[in-house]
């Protein structure tokens, strides 16, 4: 047990050391290390991977959209739920973005962003309401809405598609623009990440999301507003998928009815790899963000490292299973340690 008396008189130095110790122990550190290793290995093989202008930009840019979706997914998973409809939400919002530019020429870009976020939030609200009020597991509900949203997308798009020429240059420019060598998309993603990370750690609402995921029954007995919080988590997740949809349109320029399909699994994968427990209650959005980076960077690094195409998916799969096994082992070890500490007390 730690000493209780010194706590109030911690010097700055011990606090920094404590912080560093916490960093070394944190689940996120391992995944960050894996990311650095992957980048280093790919860079040794081909220096352009990191040290060319394009290479550096791609390193930051490619995972940024997934990062947004993964952060939203992490928030939902922390409450012991899951949102499988995010890929469909992203696709639908991306298509809507293109339609807005076509149907309302001259529409301000900011309005499109707001519309995308609101629309995504609305789709999230549908998920959240079904989960919170119908008391059906989120896995089933969002599997349903995955198909429903995609179906709406297909019905709306048909064989049509949005092309880059349909959208204003300024908007498309956002997709690749950089400020001080850092892509704008990445900056947006990082701002969202920091805000979400801060909220989840420092606000009552954020802590209650953890509490709900840790033990929903206890949360009810505590008198926490479980229904409301879960609803908000889904709305946030949907809104972030909506924002990701707008950015997807800006980044890729071409949107058909299948845009973003499969993204939900990448997002769940990123969160799990990043240490967000699939049964809720623990993990951070930071971990999910690093997970998103690792997932996409591995995809780009494996061909450079000479891994054949069809093995790449398998590597990602192994990574996810590895992460879960690791978490399980760590959890078992921690439980054992805590129980031992109690018995020795």
């Amino acid at each position: 047990m730690t000493t209780l008396t010194t706590s109030t008189t911690d010097s700055f130095g011990t606090r920094v050391l404590h912080g560093l110790g916490g960093f070394a122990k944190a689940r996120e550190t391992g995944i960050l290390l894996a990311f650095v290793l992957v980048v280093a290995a790919a860079t040794i093989k081909n220096p352009n991977f990191l040290f060319s202008a394009d290479g550096f930009r791609d390193l930051l840019l490619t995972p940024s959209i997934l990062l947004l979706v993964a952060v939203g997914q992490a928030v939902v998973i922390i409450t012991r739920n899951v949102d499988l409809s995010v890929g469909s939400t992203l696709g639908l919002t991306a298509y809507m973005t293109g339609r807005l530019f076509i149907d309302f020429p001259g529409i301000p870009i900011i309005v499109v962003f707001v519309a995308g976020i609101l629309f995504g939030g609305l789709l999230g609200l549908v998920n959240g309401a079904l989960v919170a009020f119908a008391k059906v597991p989120a896995l089933v509900i969002t599997l349903g809405t995955l198909y429903i949203y995609r179906g709406i997308n297909v019905a709306w798009t048909g064989s049509d598609r949005i092309n880059a020429s349909d959208m204003p240059k300024d908007f498309l420019g956002l997709g690749t623009a950089q400020i001080l060598y850092i892509p704008v998309l990445t900056i947006i993603a990082l701002i969202v990440l920091i805000a979400a990370g801060w909220y989840m750690r420092n606000q009552r609402g954020g802590r209650e999301l953890y509490a709900i995921g840790s033990d929903p029954g206890a949360a009810q007995l505590y008198g926490l507003k479980v229904t409301q919080r879960v609803l908000v988590a889904f709305v946030v997740c949907g809104a972030l998928a909506g924002l990701a949809g707008v950015l997807y349109a800006a980044r890729y320029g071409t949107i058909n009815s299948q845009a973003g399909s499969g993204f939900e699994l990448e997002a769940v994968g990123a969160a799990v790899i990043g240490g967000v427990a699939i049964f809720g209650g623990s993990g951070t959005v930071w971990g999910a963000a690093i997970g998103a980076f690792l997932l996409f960077t591995i995809n780009r690094a494996l061909p450079i490292l000479g891994v054949q195409d069809f093995w790449q998916r398998a590597v990602v799969g192994a990574l996810i299973i590895g992460a879960i096994v690791l978490d399980r082992l760590l959890a078992l070890r921690q439980t054992r340690k805590l129980v031992e500490a109690r018995d020795n007390d």
């Binding site: 606000q203 009552r204 953890y210 509490a211 805590l338």
Partner: protein, 507 residues
């Protein structure tokens, strides 16, 4: 009876004629309780007397159907636990309700953390307050560790810290000592007394009379959802309280027919699983009904599950007609003629979405199969025999079991196990939650089966059932068999005393 409020303060919480039903099941008919500040009030009663329902109404988890609920003289109507909490009521449930992934400090303050500007949680202040709380309670718990892996005692201390930080005026503790060791109980009592001296009103629910007499100043007895009495602890004694807890006529119900008692069928020797049950020895003979009585949580179901091989045990042996039953192998237990009708029929006894016929033949699939194939004709034929013998009331064998009444579901479970032609039948709470008529049918059936030479081990929390049905009553208390009472000597008082008191007290 009313109490003299000499040593204690003003009424903090009052319940008058509270009634509560769940569908057709009446949980409370007249709940009365007056908690005063500077007082520790005991609430006692048998299992199912309505204590927990009363607590849940106080906590805002259930809403009363009728009656008055006043807090410091004002009528209140809680619809959520948050409201009762805000009104100054803290409830510590039998099983602590903490968030295992979160730190001790966060658990204490969840939902009402101190905040700085922008709603930022003031972690430092929160931590210091937690440390202060634990210091005041005189315990050492690391405020930063997760609550995962904490002992039940420490978890309860956290619950109490939570209650104090809320500045709760009323503190309800529902069997807090059930899982505690002696030292831990002493620590809890010291804390409870200091809280009382601070002017709070405490409600203490316990089955242990020694604790009630040690800690409390007033005691309320409940029975079958009804208020029986409230007395100052000094004016009463254990015998009187036990009589009030059980006081009802048990002679007319549940007659077990006399049956010749034969050779031992099930012999259990020295069965031990640390922390669950210890040195359990008993024998059940053919034609005999042996009841395992005791309080909920005494370890009766656990013993049955271990005997059947579902749960492990560390040492001891189980044998049926002289043949040893291997550990952890329900399949071999079944082959040797053991059948277990579990406590929770919906979860453990039946496949609710499946038909009566399929459920009835579930345990005899392998003998029904021909060349590895099952024919529904055979299944229906086998099921029909038992369904008609047990008078399962359903129009067709293909009715989904989930749509049947509780009593008929129980009959299907019984049919399923009787179809295996067991030589020893273990029934865990055979009549829980079923109507009176079907109850009598189940009793008649058990009695008839015993008459045919079946050995029956019956776990029951209903004293009248135990006294009416059993040839012998084994009383389990905290994982040990504390008494073996033959039918002639079994009375409500002797069984209840053995279930709640240590062995020396009975002798």
């Amino acid at each position: 009876m009313s109490i003299s409020p000499s040593a204690t303060g003003a009424p903090a919480l009052e319940l008058r004629n509270i009634a509560k039903s769940f569908g057709s099941v009446v949980a409370l008919t007249s709940g009365n309780l007056t908690l005063r500040s500077n007082s520790i009030h005991a609430l006692i009663g048998e299992n199912g007397a309505g204590k927990s329902t009363l607590v849940k109404i106080i906590a805002g988890l259930y809403q009363r159907d009728s009656g008055d609920f006043t807090l410091e003289g004002e009528s209140v109507d809680f619809t959520t636990t948050a409201q009762s909490k805000a009104a100054g009521i803290a409830v510590i449930y039998q099983e602590p309700t903490l968030f295992p992934d979160l730190s001790v400090t966060e658990n204490v303050f969840m939902g009402r953390q101190p905040t700085l500007s922008l709603g930022r949680i003031d972690r430092k202040r929160m931590r210091n307050e937690a440390i202060g709380l634990f210091k005041r309670l005189g315990v050492r718990i690391d405020p930063d560790r997760p609550t995962l892996g904490l002992s039940i005692a420490d978890q309860q201390i956290i619950e109490i810290a939570k209650a104090i930080s809320l500045d709760a005026k009323v503190l309800v503790m529902d069997e807090p000592t059930a899982a505690l060791s002696g030292v831990e109980v002493d620590r809890l009592f010291a804390v409870a007394r200091s809280l009382r001296d601070e002017g709070r009103a405490l409600l203490f629910i316990s089955h242990r009379f020694d604790e009630v007499f040690d800690l409390c100043d007033t005691v309320t007895v409940m029975r079958d959802g009804e208020y029986i009495s409230t007395d100052p602890i000094a004016d009463t004694n254990v015998d009187q309280l036990v009589r009030r807890m059980v006081g009802r006529d048990v002679t007319t119900l549940f007659p077990k027919e006399e049956a010749p008692i034969g050779d031992p069928v099930l012999v259990v020797k020295g069965l031990t699983q640390p922390g669950v049950f210890h040195d359990v020895d008993f024998t059940v003979r053919s034609g005999e009904i042996v009841a395992l009585a005791g309080l909920v949580g005494a370890g009766r179901s656990e013993i049955a599950r271990a005997v059947f091989g579902v749960d492990p045990y560390a040492s001891g042996s189980v044998s049926i007609k002289g043949k040893a039953v291997p550990r952890r192998s329900p399949a071999s237990a079944m082959k040797l003629g053991l059948a277990l009708v579990p406590e929770d029929r919906r979860k453990q006894g039946l496949v609710l979405d499946s038909s009566v016929a399929l459920n009835t033949t579930m345990a005899i699939r392998s003998t029904l199969a021909r060349f590895g194939l099952l024919f529904s004709r055979d299944e229906n034929a086998a099921a029909r025999i038992w369904a008609s013998r047990l008078e399962v009331k359903t129009s067709a064998l293909d009715t989904e079991v989930g749509t049947l009444s509780g009593g008929n579901q129980q009959k299907v479970v019984l049919a399923k196990w009787l179809a295996t032609k067991p030589s020893i039948l273990i029934v865990d709470e055979p009549t829980r939650g079923i109507d009176v008529g079907t109850k009598a049918e189940v009793h008649r059936l058990l009695s008839q089966l015993a008459g045919e030479g079946l050995a029956i081990l019956m776990i029951s929390s209903e004293l009248p059932e135990v006294l009416g049905m059993a040839d012998r009553v084994l009383v389990v208390r905290e994982g040990r068999i504390t008494a073996d009472i033959p039918r002639a000597e079994a009375t409500a008082e002797s069984v209840m005393l053995a279930a709640t008191h240590s062995q020396e007290a009975i002798a």
